[in-house]
C-alpha cells in the first residue's frame, strides 16, 4: 500500500492548521513574558538579573519534549482536565519566552549607551527613556532575529507530538500508521513545514542584510 487518499491529505492539512495555531500561541505567550524578561535582564537590579538568568538557563538547558511532559503532568496534578493544546501552549510559551527574552535583551543592549545618556540629559524619566527612545530603536534591530526565531517556534512545535497534540507531525504519524507509506506521508509533512518556514527564513535573512547596510 503506497498511496494516500484525499481524506488523509486533508487530515494532514488540518494538522498543519493546528501547528500554526500552536506556533502563534507560543509566540504571543513568549512575547508577553519575553519583553518584561528582556527589560529585567538588561536594565534590572542585580538580583533580578540573577533570577531571570537562572530561569533562562533552566529552560534553555532542558529539552522541549521534557518541558511538554512537565506541562502535561503539571496541569493534571493541579487538578485540571484540559486539552493537550493547553499543555503544549504552556510549554511553547515557556520555551519562547526564554529565547525571545535573550534575543530582545541583546537588541536592547545593542542600542548604544550614548542614546541612554542623551535621553537622560533631556530630563526624561526612566520609563519615558525606555519607551520613547530605546525600545523603538531596539525594536528595529529585533525584527530580523525575531522573524528568524519564528522559524524555530514552528519547527519546535513538532515536539508536541510527545503529548499527543494533534499537529502536523502527529497527523502525519497517524496517517503513516494506517497507510504504511512513510516516504509519501513524511515528505508531504516536510514540504508543508518547509512552505511555512522557508519564506520566514528568507525574510529574516533579507531583513538582516537591510539592517547591516544602514
Amino acid at each position: 500500500m503506497s498511496g494516500i487518499s484525499i481524506d488523509q491529505i486533508g487530515f494532514i492539512f488540518k494538522g498543519a492548521g493546528w501547528t500554526l495555531v500552536l506556533s502563534a500561541l507560543g509566540f504571543i505567550g513568549g512575547a508577553v513574558i519575553g519583553l518584561p524578561l528582556a527589560l529585567a535582564r538588561s536594565r534590572g537590579a542585580r538580583w533580578l538579573r540573577g533570577v531571570t538568568g537562572a530561569y533562562v538557563q533552566l529552560i534553555q538547558g532542558v529539552p522541549l519534549p521534557v518541558i511538554m511532559f512537565l506541562a502535561y503532568f503539571g496541569i493534571s496534578i493541579a487538578g485540571f482536565d484540559l486539552p493537550s493544546l493547553v499543555a503544549a501552549g504552556l510549554a511553547m510559551t515557556a520555551y519562547s519566552s526564554a529565547y525571545l527574552g535573550e534575543i530582545w535583551k541583546g537588541c536592547i543592549q545593542a542600542v548604544s549607551k550614548t542614546q541612554w545618556e542623551a535621553a537622560e540629559c533631556l530630563a526624561l524619566t526612566p520609563w519615558q527613556r525606555a519607551v520613547y527612545v530605546i525600545l523603538p530603536q531596539a525594536a528595529r534591530i529585533a525584527v530580523a532575529p525575531t522573524v528568524g526565531f519564528l522559524v524555530q517556534i514552528v519547527k519546535n512545535s513538532s515536539y508536541a507530538v510527545v503529548i499527543g497534540f494533534f499537529d502536523l507531525t502527529y497527523s502525519a504519524r497517524v496517517v503513516n500508521n494506517s497507510t504504511f507509506a512513510p516516504f509519501t506521508v513524511f515528505s508531504l509533512a516536510a514540504v508543508l513545514y518547509f512552505a511555512i518556514c522557508y519564506p520566514l527564513s528568507m525574510l529574516s535573512y533579507r531583513l538582516e542584510k537591510k539592517l547591516a547596510r544602514r
Binding site: V62, V66, F73, S158, V162, A190, Y198, S201
Partner: protein, 227 residues
C-alpha cells in the same frame, strides 16, 4: 492543590535513569564527531567547490534547517523499515541527528572559513602551499578555533534534541523517564528529575568540549586564553 510529591521511585529506578543518561551521552558524542566531520566537509565544498556543488550544499542546508528534526527522524526511521532495511533504532537516530547537526555546522564552519583574512591565504600561497595544504594547515584549524563557542552551543542543543528519539524507540533518558512514569504514575516528579539530569548533561558536555579545546588548540593551552 492537594498533591503529595513523591520521589521514592528514585530508589528503585535510578539505574534505569543512569543508563538512559549514558545512552544519551553516547548518542550525542557519536553525532558530534560525525556531524562535525560532515559539516566541515560540506563547508569546504560550499566555499571552495564548483558552482553546482555550492548550490547543492545550499539546498541541503536550506531543506534540513527548515524542516523539524522530528519529521527527519520519522522519515528515516519509518522509511527504512518500510523498505525492509533492518537498521537498529540507535543508528537511525544517529544518522538523522548527524544530518540535522551537519547542516548547522556547515554554516558555522563556513563563517569561520570566510573570516580568515585574505592576507594569510596569500602568504600561504606564496610559501608554495597548495589549496588542500592551506585548508588543512592554516584555514581549518583557525576556523574551528574561532567558531568553537558557536559549535559548543550547537552541539549542546543537539544533545537536548536526542530526547525526541524516544519516539523512534531509542532507549535514552527521556524514554527511561516515560517507562518509569508508566509504572509508577509519578509523571511530574519523574520529569523534574529527568530535566535536572539533562541540565547535568549540558554541563558535562560543555566541560568535555572545553577540555577538547585545550587539547586541540595548542595556542590556547599555552597562552591560557579562555574561550
Amino acid at each position: 492543590m492537594d498533591y503529595q510529591f513523591d520521589f521514592s521511585f528514585l530508589s528503585d529506578h535510578w539505574p534505569a535513569l543512569l543508563s538512559g543518561l549514558f545512552s544519551t551521552l553516547r548518542m550525542a558524542v557519536f553525532t558530534i564527531v560525525l556531524g562535525f566531520i560532515v559539516g566541515t566537509v560540506l563547508a569546504v565544498a560550499r566555499t571552495q567547490g564548483s558552482p553546482w556543488m555550492r548550490r547543492a550544499v545550499t539546498a541541503y542546508v536550506d531543506v534540513v534547517r527548515n524542516t523539524p528534526l522530528v519529521i527527519q527522524a520519522f522519515w528515516l526511521f519509518f522509511g527504512l523499515a518500510a523498505i525492509q532495511l533492518k537498521v537498529p533504532a540507535l543508528m537511525a537516530a544517529v544518522i538523522a541527528l548527524t544530518i540535522n547537526v551537519s547542516a548547522y555546522t556547515t554554516e558555522i564552519m563556513r563563517a569561520g572559513i570566510e573570516s580568515i583574512p585574505r592576507g594569510q591565504l596569500e602568504a600561504a600561497e606564496c610559501l608554495g602551499m597548495s589549496r588542500s595544504k592551506m585548508l588543512r594547515l592554516v584555514i581549518l584549524p583557525q576556523a574551528a578555533e574561532r567558531m568553537y563557542p558557536a559549535l559548543i552551543s550547537q552541539f549542546v542543543l543537539m544533545m537536548l534534541a536526542t530526547s525526541i528519539m524516544s519516539q523512534i524507540s531509542v532507549e535514552e533518558l527521556t524514554s527511561a523517564g516515560y517507562i518509569i512514569q508508566s509504572e509508577t504514575f509519578r509523571g511530574f516528579e519523574i520529569y523534574l528529575v529527568v530535566a535536572a539530569l539533562y541540565l547535568v548533561l549540558s554541563w558535562l558536555l560543555r566541560l568535555g568540549m572545553a577540555g577538547v579545546a585545550m587539547l586541540a588548540f595548542e595556542r590556547r593551552r599555552k597562552l591560557k586564553t579562555p574561550l
